[in-house]
């Protein structure tokens, strides 16, 4: 950009500052009040400065055993990301190399599934899983999350695989590799950036899920977002403040994630867009 008039510069930075405040206010204010007692957190007039206390966090993590929900989140997200990527890489690679019309239709059906509201599957999940007796299992929740992740995962991985030149795996095939060997030994090593980006989004989907995580498993197996559902209707002061502390506890790993992986997230969001 060349010389800009002062008026324009002021308008741009003023607008951006306003956006920054609006974008971060709910999160920042929640973080501030999580360090206060109820009377200081919600008071008229508003208190800008109040004594700091970690009471909400200790009562949540120790008394309410939120660490169990944290461990559940670890189990569910690690399981989901691992299986999603393994299954998705195979399919994404094949979709990027296959020229037949099956591939096209698979992608279209995946697109329809991607737009399906998840609650439409819940009634049959209830009935089916109860009939087989696999409701309230980590593995069931993980597989369901993997499945609803698949449409998105194969679309994204395919768009990364398409960028890897065909010559690479064809050379490996000529040298006597099988398709699978070419995929594992030649393609995957150069695919790491794409795999990491897709893994991030699989992680976010599993980590942020509320609907399935709160309905398919019982309280002792719930992930963190499902566990703070109590706070939704909490009228008691202690419950409410625990919910506030829980909300911040859930958000901190995400903030760290965005700071570390900002580039990958941006590239993942724009990947589909650039391809049209």
């Amino acid at each position: 950009m060349k010389k800009q008039s002062i008026g324009w510069t002021a308008l741009i930075y003023g607008g951006l500052a306003l956006w920054l405040v609006l974008a971060s206010l709910p999160i920042v204010w929640t973080a501030i009040i999580s360090l206060r007692q109820y009377v200081d957190a919600f008071s008229i007039p508003i208190k800008w400065v109040a004594p700091i206390t970690f009471e909400n966090y200790t009562s949540l993590w120790i008394d309410k055993q939120f660490y169990k929900n944290f461990l559940n989140t670890v189990i569910v997200t690690v399981g989901t990301v691992t299986i999603s990527l393994t299954v998705g890489c195979l399919a994404g690679y094949a979709l990027s190399r296959y020229r037949g019309s099956f591939g096209f239709w698979l992608l279209i059906i995946a697109l329809v599934f991607r737009s399906l509201p998840h609650s439409t599957l819940l009634p049959s999940f209830y009935v089916m899983f109860d009939a087989i007796g696999i409701r309230n299992e980590y593995f069931t929740l993980i597989l369901v999350l993997v499945a609803i992740n698949q449409p998105f995962t194969i679309w994204m991985l395919r768009s990364f695989f398409v960028n890897i030149p065909n010559e690479l795996d064809e050379a490996a095939l000529v040298d006597g590799c099988s398709r699978f060997q070419a995929f594992r030994k030649v393609i995957i090593p150069v695919m790491w950036p794409g795999v990491i980006t897709t893994g991030l989004f699989s992680f976010l989907l599993a980590y942020n899920d509320f609907l399935l995580s709160s309905s398919l498993v019982n309280a002792d197996k719930m992930t963190m977002p499902a566990a703070i559902a109590n706070a939704i209707s909490a009228e008691s002061e202690a419950f409410l403040m625990q919910g506030v502390a829980g909300a911040v506890s859930i958000t901190i790993p995400l903030v760290i994630l965005v700071i570390i992986f900002q580039k990958q997230i941006v590239s993942g969001l724009t990947q589909g867009a650039v391809k049209g």
Binding site: I12, Y13, G15, L16, W19, L20, L22, A23, S24, L25, P26, I27, T30, I33, F42, S43, I44, P45, T86, L90, A91, Y93, A94, L95, R97, F102, A110, F113, R114, S115, L116, P117, H118, S119, L121, L122, P123, S124, Y126, M128, V144, A147, Q150, F210, L211, I228, A229, A231, V244, I250, T251, L254, V255, V258, Q262, I265, V266, L269, T270, A273
Partner: protein, 340 residues
């Protein structure tokens, strides 16, 4: 790649989607025309007390040999669809006792009779209102960041991503706490003598849900449009400058046409996401004033514990998605045919 190899590579993924998405969808269709109730029997209960033995009749669930309750299932046709759509009372369903009796107040009955249409109305309102604001806000922020100094951009992008990345249920909760009585926003408004109980009225609760939607989705539009702005052809812009175009004309005739495919892409993704709005509805209103189609299915399933009626709502929801996607599907189908 041969079809055979292709099939083996995609098999795990397809199998997962078939068994946990396609099959459940079929089961949903099947469930939506059926109803099951536990088989009840009337048994004589003998109670021996100090004053002799008394006999009473009581209802009890029949159990099979393994001790599981026996359920009676039957075909009820479109009864649950009628009840979800509020078209007359579903006679045979109510007779089975699975439907809560209509003894509740008139208002509640009214609410129930318009369940699906009401949910659909709000979902469409939400979609239609948020889409232009998401695009506009995203575009403005993208323009701002594009014209800001390089050293600020990293921070700006990180901070802007947060509303989009953060767990939706947490995001909705933090907005709720902001607008709660004695919260930050009511305090500010009270300085101007404005007093609104945000979560206690239909219009304000809806307003908050829409506000959440814009706040949550605008960052996505921003990131995509920002990437698009990087690739606007500089020579076209310079040519326009030489031809005497002002800022607005360059934006209108060079930048916007270049971004058009991206705007369509964002609109499409946002339509799909808006159609399944759920977390802000459950958090901000708990369904008291307004429901969305996805919330309705959840509510019937979890609160009314009626998977059959919930299935009917789910089928209607799925039908809505197809209506929403038809233009897109037809377009790709035509392109595919043309491309061979």
């Amino acid at each position: 790649m041969k079809t055979n190899t292709f099939a083996r590579f995609v098999a795990p993924s397809v199998l997962l989607m078939l068994s946990l998405m396609a099959a459940p969808l079929m089961v949903t269709f099947y469930l939506s025309v059926r109803n099951c109730v536990p088989d009840m029997e009337i048994v004589k209960v003998q109670q021996s007390g100090p004053f002799g033995t008394t006999e009473s009749m009581t209802q009890q669930v029949k159990l099979d040999s393994s001790g599981k309750p026996i359920t009676l299932c039957r075909f009820v046709g479109l009864d649950y669809y009628r009840s979800v759509l509020g078209l007359g009372s579903a006679q045979s369903v109510s007779a089975n006792g699975n439907e809560p009796p209509d003894s509740s107040s008139n208002a509640a009955a009214n609410h129930r009779s318009t369940e699906f249409t009401g949910a659909l109305n709000f979902t469409l309102l939400y979609t239609l209102v948020t889409t232009p604001f998401v695009l506009l806000l995203g575009f403005l922020v993208a323009l701002g960041v594009h014209h800001s100094a390089q050293r600020f951009r990293g921070t700006l992008i990180t901070a802007s991503l947060m509303p989009f990345i953060i767990t939706p249920v947490v995001a909705a909760l933090s907005i709720k706490w902001l607008f709660r009585d004695n919260g930050l926003v009511p305090y500010f408004l009270s300085q101007f003598d404005i007093s609104v109980f945000w979560m206690a009225e239909a219009w304000s609760a809806r307003f908050l849900i829409i506000l959440y939607g814009i706040w949550h989705s605008a960052p996505f539009a921003f990131i995509v449009l920002y990437a698009g702005l990087q690739s606007v052809p500089q020579d076209s812009l310079e040519a326009a400058t030489i031809d005497g175009a002002n800022r607005w004309q360059k934006l209108r005739y060079v930048t916007l046409p270049h971004l058009m495919p991206l705007i369509i892409f964002i609109t499409l993704i946002h339509l799909m996401d808006a159609y399944r709005v759920f977390e802000p509805v459950i958090v901000l209103t708990q369904g008291a004033f307004t429901t969305s189609v996805q919330y309705l299915t959840y509510y019937i399933l979890v609160t009314e514990t009626n998977p059959y009626k919930a299935s009917a709502a789910a089928v209607l929801t799925t039908a809505g998605i197809f209506v929403l996607l038809i233009p897109l599907l037809v377009k790709t189908w035509k392109e595919q045919r043309r491309g061979g």
